[in-house]
Protein backbone atom coordinates (compact mmCIF):
# COMPACT_ATOMS: atom_id res chain seq x y z
CA UNK A 1 0.00 0.00 0.00
CA UNK A 2 1.27 3.46 -0.84
CA UNK A 3 1.94 5.30 2.43
CA UNK A 4 2.12 9.00 1.64
CA UNK A 5 4.17 9.88 4.67
CA UNK A 6 6.66 7.10 4.35
CA UNK A 7 7.22 7.27 0.64
CA UNK A 8 7.00 10.95 -0.25
CA UNK A 9 7.13 13.32 2.71
CA UNK A 10 10.04 11.47 4.26
CA UNK A 11 12.16 12.66 1.37
CA UNK A 12 11.70 16.26 2.41
CA UNK A 13 13.43 15.67 5.73
CA UNK A 14 16.52 14.17 4.14
CA UNK A 15 19.80 16.04 4.28
CA UNK A 16 20.29 18.47 1.42
CA UNK A 17 22.77 16.90 -0.96
CA UNK A 18 24.04 18.18 -4.20
CA UNK A 19 23.26 15.19 -6.44
CA UNK A 20 25.48 16.67 -9.00
CA UNK A 21 27.68 16.64 -12.00
CA UNK A 22 30.88 18.65 -11.94
CA UNK A 23 33.82 18.64 -14.35
CA UNK A 24 37.17 20.35 -14.56
CA UNK A 25 39.61 20.10 -17.43
CA UNK A 26 43.04 21.60 -18.13
CA UNK A 27 43.63 23.08 -21.54
CA UNK A 28 46.46 24.95 -23.21
CA UNK A 29 46.11 28.24 -21.33
CA UNK A 30 44.44 27.21 -18.06
CA UNK A 31 41.44 25.29 -16.81
CA UNK A 32 37.73 25.20 -17.57
CA UNK A 33 35.32 24.13 -14.85
CA UNK A 34 31.64 23.34 -15.28
CA UNK A 35 28.71 22.12 -13.19
CA UNK A 36 24.98 21.52 -13.36
CA UNK A 37 22.65 23.58 -11.17
CA UNK A 38 20.44 21.17 -9.21
CA UNK A 39 20.47 20.86 -5.41
CA UNK A 40 18.14 18.10 -4.31
CA UNK A 41 16.63 17.00 -1.02
CA UNK A 42 15.51 13.49 -1.83
CA UNK A 43 13.36 13.99 -4.92
CA UNK A 44 12.63 17.68 -4.33
CA UNK A 45 14.84 20.15 -6.17
CA UNK A 46 15.58 22.66 -3.43
CA UNK A 47 17.45 24.93 -5.84
CA UNK A 48 17.34 24.53 -9.62
CA UNK A 49 19.77 27.37 -10.33
CA UNK A 50 22.54 26.56 -7.82
CA UNK A 51 26.01 27.93 -8.35
CA UNK A 52 28.39 25.11 -7.53
CA UNK A 53 31.43 26.96 -8.84
CA UNK A 54 32.78 28.40 -5.63
CA UNK A 55 35.71 30.86 -5.62
CA UNK A 56 38.45 30.10 -3.14
CA UNK A 57 40.84 32.79 -4.32
CA UNK A 58 41.09 35.14 -7.32
CA UNK A 59 42.12 32.41 -9.73
CA UNK A 60 41.33 29.26 -7.76
CA UNK A 61 37.85 27.71 -7.76
CA UNK A 62 36.39 24.60 -6.23
CA UNK A 63 33.58 22.34 -7.41
CA UNK A 64 31.50 20.92 -4.60
CA UNK A 65 29.66 17.60 -4.47
CA UNK A 66 28.18 15.67 -1.58
CA UNK A 67 26.63 17.38 1.42
CA UNK A 68 25.98 21.04 0.62
CA UNK A 69 26.59 22.15 4.22
CA UNK A 70 29.89 20.29 4.55
CA UNK A 71 31.32 21.53 1.28
CA UNK A 72 30.23 25.12 1.88
CA UNK A 73 31.88 25.35 5.28
CA UNK A 74 35.12 23.73 4.12
CA UNK A 75 35.44 25.93 1.08
CA UNK A 76 34.97 29.03 3.24
CA UNK A 77 37.72 27.80 5.61
CA UNK A 78 40.11 27.19 2.72
CA UNK A 79 39.21 30.53 1.20
CA UNK A 80 40.01 32.20 4.53
CA UNK A 81 43.38 30.48 4.86
CA UNK A 82 44.46 31.06 1.24
CA UNK A 83 43.67 34.74 1.61
CA UNK A 84 45.57 34.94 4.91
CA UNK A 85 48.62 33.14 3.51
CA UNK A 86 48.71 35.18 0.31
CA UNK A 87 48.75 38.41 2.35
CA UNK A 88 51.37 37.02 4.73
CA UNK A 89 53.61 35.83 1.93
CA UNK A 90 52.96 38.64 -0.51
CA UNK A 91 52.42 36.26 -3.41
CA UNK A 92 49.58 34.52 -5.23
CA UNK A 93 48.71 31.12 -3.74
CA UNK A 94 49.24 28.06 -5.92
CA UNK A 95 46.36 25.71 -6.70
CA UNK A 96 48.51 23.00 -5.10
CA UNK A 97 48.47 24.86 -1.80
CA UNK A 98 44.71 25.36 -1.79
CA UNK A 99 44.12 21.74 -2.81
CA UNK A 100 46.33 20.47 0.00
CA UNK A 101 44.47 22.61 2.50
CA UNK A 102 41.24 21.02 1.31
CA UNK A 103 42.86 17.65 1.82
CA UNK A 104 43.83 18.48 5.44
CA UNK A 105 40.24 19.39 6.30
CA UNK A 106 38.66 16.49 4.45
CA UNK A 107 41.01 13.86 5.81
CA UNK A 108 41.22 15.00 9.41
CA UNK A 109 37.43 15.19 9.68
CA UNK A 110 36.51 12.28 7.49
CA UNK A 111 34.26 10.66 10.13
CA UNK A 112 31.95 13.63 10.15
CA UNK A 113 31.97 14.72 6.54
CA UNK A 114 30.37 13.63 3.32
CA UNK A 115 32.19 15.89 0.92
CA UNK A 116 34.08 15.53 -2.33
CA UNK A 117 35.80 18.50 -3.93
CA UNK A 118 37.52 19.27 -7.19
CA UNK A 119 39.97 22.14 -6.77
CA UNK A 120 40.99 23.81 -10.03
CA UNK A 121 42.60 27.07 -11.06
CA UNK A 122 45.54 28.86 -12.54
CA UNK A 123 48.75 30.06 -10.90
CA UNK A 124 51.95 31.47 -12.39
CA UNK A 125 54.09 28.55 -11.15
CA UNK A 126 52.21 25.47 -12.38
CA UNK A 127 49.79 27.03 -14.90
CA UNK A 128 46.37 25.41 -15.00
CA UNK A 129 45.91 22.54 -12.50
CA UNK A 130 43.07 20.24 -11.49
CA UNK A 131 43.12 18.35 -8.19
CA UNK A 132 40.53 15.73 -7.33
CA UNK A 133 39.70 15.19 -3.63
CA UNK A 134 37.25 12.30 -3.29
CA UNK A 135 35.31 11.19 -0.22
CA UNK A 136 38.07 9.69 1.93
CA UNK A 137 40.35 12.72 1.89
CA UNK A 138 42.94 11.64 -0.66
CA UNK A 139 44.35 14.05 -3.21
CA UNK A 140 45.18 13.33 -6.86
CA UNK A 141 46.41 15.76 -9.50
CA UNK A 142 44.77 14.99 -12.83
CA UNK A 143 44.56 16.51 -16.32
CA UNK A 144 40.76 16.39 -15.95
CA UNK A 145 38.37 15.33 -13.23
CA UNK A 146 34.68 14.61 -12.85
CA UNK A 147 32.58 14.37 -9.70
CA UNK A 148 29.11 13.93 -8.32
CA UNK A 149 26.38 11.41 -9.01
CA UNK A 150 26.29 12.28 -12.70
CA UNK A 151 29.97 11.63 -13.21
CA UNK A 152 29.38 7.90 -13.50
CA UNK A 153 27.79 8.53 -16.88
CA UNK A 154 30.81 10.43 -18.12
CA UNK A 155 33.74 8.05 -17.68
CA UNK A 156 33.39 6.66 -21.20
CA UNK A 157 32.72 10.08 -22.70
CA UNK A 158 35.78 11.64 -21.06
CA UNK A 159 38.14 8.79 -21.87
CA UNK A 160 37.14 8.90 -25.51
CA UNK A 161 37.14 12.67 -26.01
CA UNK A 162 39.85 14.16 -23.79
CA UNK A 163 43.04 15.42 -25.46
CA UNK A 164 46.06 17.12 -23.89
CA UNK A 165 46.56 20.83 -24.66
CA UNK A 166 43.12 21.50 -26.15
CA UNK A 167 42.24 24.97 -27.33
CA UNK A 168 39.74 26.97 -25.29
CA UNK A 169 36.94 26.21 -27.74
CA UNK A 170 37.60 22.49 -27.73
CA UNK A 171 37.81 22.40 -23.96
CA UNK A 172 34.61 24.42 -23.58
CA UNK A 173 32.77 22.02 -25.85
CA UNK A 174 34.22 19.10 -23.92
CA UNK A 175 32.80 20.24 -20.59
CA UNK A 176 29.51 21.62 -21.90
CA UNK A 177 28.59 18.43 -23.72
CA UNK A 178 29.72 16.39 -20.75
CA UNK A 179 27.47 18.17 -18.28
CA UNK A 180 24.61 18.14 -20.79
CA UNK A 181 24.86 14.39 -21.18
CA UNK A 182 25.01 13.85 -17.42
CA UNK A 183 21.97 16.07 -16.89
CA UNK A 184 20.09 13.98 -19.45
CA UNK A 185 20.99 10.67 -17.81
CA UNK A 186 21.28 11.44 -14.07
CA UNK A 187 18.21 12.23 -11.99
CA UNK A 188 20.31 14.03 -9.42
CA UNK A 189 21.62 16.52 -11.98
CA UNK A 190 19.65 19.09 -13.91
CA UNK A 191 18.98 22.71 -14.69
CA UNK A 192 21.54 24.84 -16.50
CA UNK A 193 25.24 24.44 -17.22
CA UNK A 194 27.47 26.93 -15.41
CA UNK A 195 31.05 27.31 -16.68
CA UNK A 196 34.13 29.26 -15.72
CA UNK A 197 37.31 29.67 -17.75
CA UNK A 198 40.35 30.38 -15.57
CA UNK A 199 43.61 31.46 -17.17
CA UNK A 200 46.34 34.00 -16.61
CA UNK A 201 43.98 36.87 -17.33
CA UNK A 202 41.49 35.91 -14.63
CA UNK A 203 38.10 34.23 -14.57
CA UNK A 204 35.35 34.39 -17.21
CA UNK A 205 31.99 32.94 -16.23
CA UNK A 206 29.47 31.63 -18.73
CA UNK A 207 26.07 29.98 -18.55
CA UNK A 208 24.21 27.74 -20.98
CA UNK A 209 20.49 27.81 -20.33
CA UNK A 210 18.23 24.78 -20.52
CA UNK A 211 16.73 25.41 -23.91
CA UNK A 212 20.14 25.96 -25.46
CA UNK A 213 21.53 22.63 -24.24
CA UNK A 214 22.38 20.40 -27.15
CA UNK A 215 20.12 17.38 -27.51
CA UNK A 216 21.98 14.14 -27.93
CA UNK A 217 20.25 10.90 -28.93
CA UNK A 218 16.66 11.44 -27.81
CA UNK A 219 13.38 10.16 -29.11
Amino acid sequence: MFDLEKEFLYDLNKEVKTGTTVMAVTFKDGVIIAADSRTSSGSYAVNRVTDKLTPVHDQIYCLRSGSAADTQIISSYVSYYTNMFSIEEGSQPTVKKAAHMFREFLYQNKQYLHAAIICAGWDPIDGGSVYSLPLGGSIVKQPFATGGSGSTYLYGYCDMNFKENMTEEEAEKFVTYGITEAIARDGGSGGIVRKAIIDKNGVRRKTVYGNKLKKFWEK
Binding site: E88, E89, T94, K97, M101, E104
Partner: protein, 249 residues
Amino acid sequence: MSGIGTGYDLYPTTFSPDGRIFQVEYAHKAVENSSTAIGLCCKDGVVFGVEKIILSKMLVEGTNRRVFSVGEHIGIATAGLTADGRRIVQNARQEAKNYENFTSDIIPIHVLTERLSIYVQVFTLYNYIRPFGCSLMIGSYDEEKGPSLYCIEPDSVALGFYGCAIGKGKQEAKTEISKLKLSEMTCKDAVKEIAKILIKTVHDETKEKEMELEMSWICKETKGKHKLVPKKLIEEAVEWVKGQENEED
Protein backbone atom coordinates in the same frame (compact mmCIF):
# COMPACT_ATOMS: atom_id res chain seq x y z
CA MET B 1 72.19 49.37 44.40
CA SER B 2 71.10 52.08 42.02
CA GLY B 3 71.54 51.71 38.32
CA ILE B 4 70.20 53.26 35.16
CA GLY B 5 66.65 52.12 35.39
CA THR B 6 66.08 51.93 39.11
CA GLY B 7 62.43 51.68 39.97
CA TYR B 8 61.26 51.15 36.40
CA ASP B 9 63.17 48.01 35.62
CA LEU B 10 61.53 45.35 37.72
CA TYR B 11 59.04 44.06 35.15
CA PRO B 12 58.58 44.31 31.40
CA THR B 13 55.16 45.75 32.14
CA THR B 14 56.57 49.10 33.23
CA PHE B 15 57.68 51.90 30.91
CA SER B 16 60.31 54.30 32.19
CA PRO B 17 59.54 58.03 32.03
CA ASP B 18 61.63 58.30 28.87
CA GLY B 19 59.69 55.55 27.17
CA ARG B 20 62.04 52.59 27.59
CA ILE B 21 61.34 49.08 28.77
CA PHE B 22 64.41 48.26 30.81
CA GLN B 23 63.86 44.53 31.14
CA VAL B 24 64.05 44.19 27.36
CA GLU B 25 67.19 46.32 27.28
CA TYR B 26 68.74 44.14 29.97
CA ALA B 27 67.89 41.14 27.79
CA HIS B 28 70.04 42.77 25.09
CA LYS B 29 72.89 42.87 27.60
CA ALA B 30 72.63 39.11 27.98
CA VAL B 31 73.25 38.82 24.25
CA GLU B 32 76.18 41.22 24.43
CA ASN B 33 77.85 39.01 27.02
CA SER B 34 77.94 36.00 24.74
CA SER B 35 80.50 35.13 22.09
CA THR B 36 80.06 36.47 18.58
CA ALA B 37 78.10 35.00 15.71
CA ILE B 38 78.26 36.27 12.12
CA GLY B 39 75.98 35.75 9.13
CA LEU B 40 76.78 36.78 5.53
CA CYS B 41 74.63 36.84 2.39
CA CYS B 42 76.85 35.91 -0.55
CA LYS B 43 76.30 35.60 -4.26
CA ASP B 44 75.29 31.96 -4.04
CA GLY B 45 74.13 31.44 -0.47
CA VAL B 46 74.23 32.34 3.23
CA VAL B 47 77.09 31.43 5.60
CA PHE B 48 76.99 31.45 9.42
CA GLY B 49 80.04 31.45 11.68
CA VAL B 50 80.08 31.25 15.49
CA GLU B 51 83.01 31.82 17.82
CA LYS B 52 82.61 29.14 20.48
CA ILE B 53 84.73 29.54 23.58
CA ILE B 54 86.02 26.17 24.75
CA LEU B 55 85.19 26.14 28.44
CA SER B 56 86.99 22.94 29.30
CA LYS B 57 89.37 20.49 27.65
CA MET B 58 86.99 17.74 28.68
CA LEU B 59 84.27 18.95 26.29
CA VAL B 60 83.69 16.92 23.13
CA GLU B 61 84.22 18.93 19.90
CA GLY B 62 81.09 20.04 18.19
CA THR B 63 79.08 19.94 21.39
CA ASN B 64 77.26 23.04 22.66
CA ARG B 65 75.73 23.74 19.22
CA ARG B 66 74.92 27.33 18.32
CA VAL B 67 73.56 26.80 14.78
CA PHE B 68 70.38 24.85 14.14
CA SER B 69 68.36 23.63 11.17
CA VAL B 70 64.69 24.42 10.77
CA GLY B 71 63.12 22.27 8.11
CA GLU B 72 65.84 21.45 5.60
CA HIS B 73 66.15 24.83 3.99
CA ILE B 74 66.53 27.30 6.87
CA GLY B 75 69.41 27.77 9.31
CA ILE B 76 69.36 29.67 12.61
CA ALA B 77 72.43 30.92 14.50
CA THR B 78 72.04 32.11 18.10
CA ALA B 79 73.88 34.43 20.46
CA GLY B 80 72.99 34.99 24.11
CA LEU B 81 71.48 32.44 26.44
CA THR B 82 71.76 29.25 24.39
CA ALA B 83 68.86 27.62 26.19
CA ASP B 84 66.57 30.51 25.21
CA GLY B 85 67.79 30.15 21.64
CA ARG B 86 66.96 26.46 21.63
CA ARG B 87 63.45 27.21 22.85
CA ILE B 88 62.81 29.60 19.97
CA VAL B 89 64.28 27.11 17.49
CA GLN B 90 61.86 24.46 18.81
CA ASN B 91 59.02 26.85 18.13
CA ALA B 92 60.40 27.59 14.67
CA ARG B 93 60.56 23.89 13.86
CA GLN B 94 56.96 23.47 14.97
CA GLU B 95 55.82 26.38 12.80
CA ALA B 96 57.70 25.07 9.79
CA LYS B 97 56.28 21.57 10.19
CA ASN B 98 52.70 22.78 10.67
CA TYR B 99 52.95 25.02 7.63
CA GLU B 100 54.26 22.15 5.55
CA ASN B 101 51.58 19.74 6.74
CA PHE B 102 48.82 22.20 6.01
CA THR B 103 49.92 23.59 2.67
CA SER B 104 52.37 20.96 1.32
CA ASP B 105 54.82 23.81 0.65
CA ILE B 106 58.02 24.63 2.56
CA ILE B 107 57.68 27.70 4.73
CA PRO B 108 59.10 30.87 3.15
CA ILE B 109 61.80 32.44 5.34
CA HIS B 110 60.08 35.80 5.67
CA VAL B 111 56.91 34.10 6.93
CA LEU B 112 58.88 32.13 9.53
CA THR B 113 60.74 35.24 10.61
CA GLU B 114 57.48 37.15 11.01
CA ARG B 115 55.98 34.39 13.15
CA LEU B 116 59.07 34.03 15.35
CA SER B 117 59.14 37.77 15.79
CA ILE B 118 55.53 37.74 16.99
CA TYR B 119 56.35 34.83 19.31
CA VAL B 120 59.34 36.64 20.85
CA GLN B 121 57.26 39.80 21.31
CA VAL B 122 54.70 38.02 23.45
CA PHE B 123 57.33 37.51 26.13
CA THR B 124 57.88 41.25 26.42
CA LEU B 125 54.30 41.86 27.52
CA TYR B 126 53.84 40.16 30.87
CA ASN B 127 55.40 40.34 34.31
CA TYR B 128 55.38 36.62 34.97
CA ILE B 129 57.45 35.53 31.97
CA ARG B 130 60.75 37.09 31.06
CA PRO B 131 61.92 38.19 27.60
CA PHE B 132 64.26 35.88 25.69
CA GLY B 133 67.91 36.67 26.34
CA CYS B 134 69.10 35.78 22.87
CA SER B 135 69.32 37.11 19.33
CA LEU B 136 68.83 34.91 16.30
CA MET B 137 70.07 35.10 12.74
CA ILE B 138 67.83 33.27 10.29
CA GLY B 139 69.12 32.44 6.82
CA SER B 140 67.96 30.66 3.72
CA TYR B 141 68.81 30.36 0.03
CA ASP B 142 66.39 30.03 -2.87
CA GLU B 143 67.27 29.59 -6.56
CA GLU B 144 64.84 32.32 -7.62
CA LYS B 145 64.91 34.76 -4.73
CA GLY B 146 68.59 34.33 -3.85
CA PRO B 147 69.98 34.46 -0.31
CA SER B 148 68.00 35.91 2.62
CA LEU B 149 69.24 36.79 6.10
CA TYR B 150 67.15 38.14 8.98
CA CYS B 151 68.07 38.99 12.55
CA ILE B 152 65.63 38.92 15.49
CA GLU B 153 66.65 40.70 18.69
CA PRO B 154 65.16 40.26 22.20
CA ASP B 155 62.80 43.18 21.59
CA SER B 156 61.39 41.15 18.65
CA VAL B 157 62.54 43.60 15.96
CA ALA B 158 63.31 41.56 12.84
CA LEU B 159 65.36 43.19 10.11
CA GLY B 160 66.74 41.87 6.83
CA PHE B 161 70.50 42.10 6.38
CA TYR B 162 73.19 41.54 3.78
CA GLY B 163 75.63 40.88 6.60
CA CYS B 164 75.06 40.77 10.33
CA ALA B 165 76.87 40.13 13.61
CA ILE B 166 75.50 39.52 17.10
CA GLY B 167 77.20 39.05 20.48
CA LYS B 168 80.20 40.50 22.23
CA GLY B 169 82.27 41.52 19.23
CA LYS B 170 79.47 42.65 16.98
CA GLN B 171 80.72 46.22 16.59
CA GLU B 172 84.19 45.21 15.36
CA ALA B 173 82.70 42.44 13.26
CA LYS B 174 80.20 44.79 11.62
CA THR B 175 83.01 47.19 10.74
CA GLU B 176 84.94 44.38 9.05
CA ILE B 177 81.84 43.09 7.28
CA SER B 178 81.08 46.51 5.81
CA LYS B 179 84.47 46.39 4.08
CA LEU B 180 83.61 43.18 2.23
CA LYS B 181 82.03 43.08 -1.26
CA LEU B 182 79.32 40.58 -0.42
CA SER B 183 77.49 40.57 -3.74
CA GLU B 184 80.64 39.32 -5.50
CA MET B 185 81.71 36.82 -2.86
CA THR B 186 81.12 33.09 -3.11
CA CYS B 187 80.26 31.02 -0.05
CA LYS B 188 83.68 29.37 -0.05
CA ASP B 189 85.32 32.80 0.15
CA ALA B 190 82.90 33.83 2.86
CA VAL B 191 83.97 30.86 4.99
CA LYS B 192 87.52 32.22 4.93
CA GLU B 193 86.49 35.80 5.61
CA ILE B 194 84.26 34.85 8.53
CA ALA B 195 87.06 32.72 9.99
CA LYS B 196 89.38 35.70 9.66
CA ILE B 197 87.01 38.08 11.42
CA LEU B 198 86.26 35.66 14.22
CA ILE B 199 89.83 34.54 14.83
CA LYS B 200 91.69 37.78 14.36
CA THR B 201 89.33 40.66 14.96
CA VAL B 202 86.84 39.39 17.47
CA HIS B 203 88.61 36.76 19.53
CA ASP B 204 91.09 38.04 22.08
CA GLU B 205 93.64 35.30 22.69
CA THR B 206 95.17 36.96 25.70
CA LYS B 207 91.94 37.48 27.59
CA GLU B 208 89.91 34.42 26.65
CA LYS B 209 90.40 30.70 26.41
CA GLU B 210 90.72 28.84 23.15
CA MET B 211 87.96 29.02 20.62
CA GLU B 212 86.26 26.58 18.29
CA LEU B 213 84.73 27.61 14.97
CA GLU B 214 81.24 26.40 14.18
CA MET B 215 80.17 27.23 10.64
CA SER B 216 77.21 26.31 8.52
CA TRP B 217 75.79 27.31 5.17
CA ILE B 218 72.79 27.19 2.87
CA CYS B 219 73.98 27.59 -0.71
CA LYS B 220 73.83 26.45 -4.31
CA GLU B 221 76.35 23.75 -3.55
CA THR B 222 74.23 22.24 -0.79
CA LYS B 223 71.21 22.55 -3.12
CA GLY B 224 69.45 24.94 -0.79
CA LYS B 225 69.79 22.70 2.27
CA HIS B 226 71.24 23.89 5.57
CA LYS B 227 74.42 21.95 6.33
CA LEU B 228 77.49 22.32 8.51
CA VAL B 229 80.49 23.52 6.54
CA PRO B 230 82.76 20.48 5.97
CA LYS B 231 85.52 20.24 8.58
CA LYS B 232 88.20 20.26 5.87
CA LEU B 233 87.06 23.64 4.59
CA ILE B 234 87.10 25.12 8.08
CA GLU B 235 90.61 23.80 8.68
CA GLU B 236 91.75 25.26 5.35
CA ALA B 237 90.21 28.58 6.31
CA VAL B 238 92.02 28.59 9.66
CA GLU B 239 95.30 27.80 7.87
CA TRP B 240 94.64 30.62 5.45
CA VAL B 241 94.03 33.05 8.34
CA LYS B 242 97.30 31.98 10.00
CA GLY B 243 99.08 32.49 6.67
CA GLN B 244 97.64 35.99 6.44
CA GLU B 245 98.93 36.78 9.91
CA ASN B 246 102.45 35.69 8.95
CA GLU B 247 102.30 37.82 5.83
CA GLU B 248 101.39 40.88 7.77
CA ASP B 249 104.15 40.35 10.25
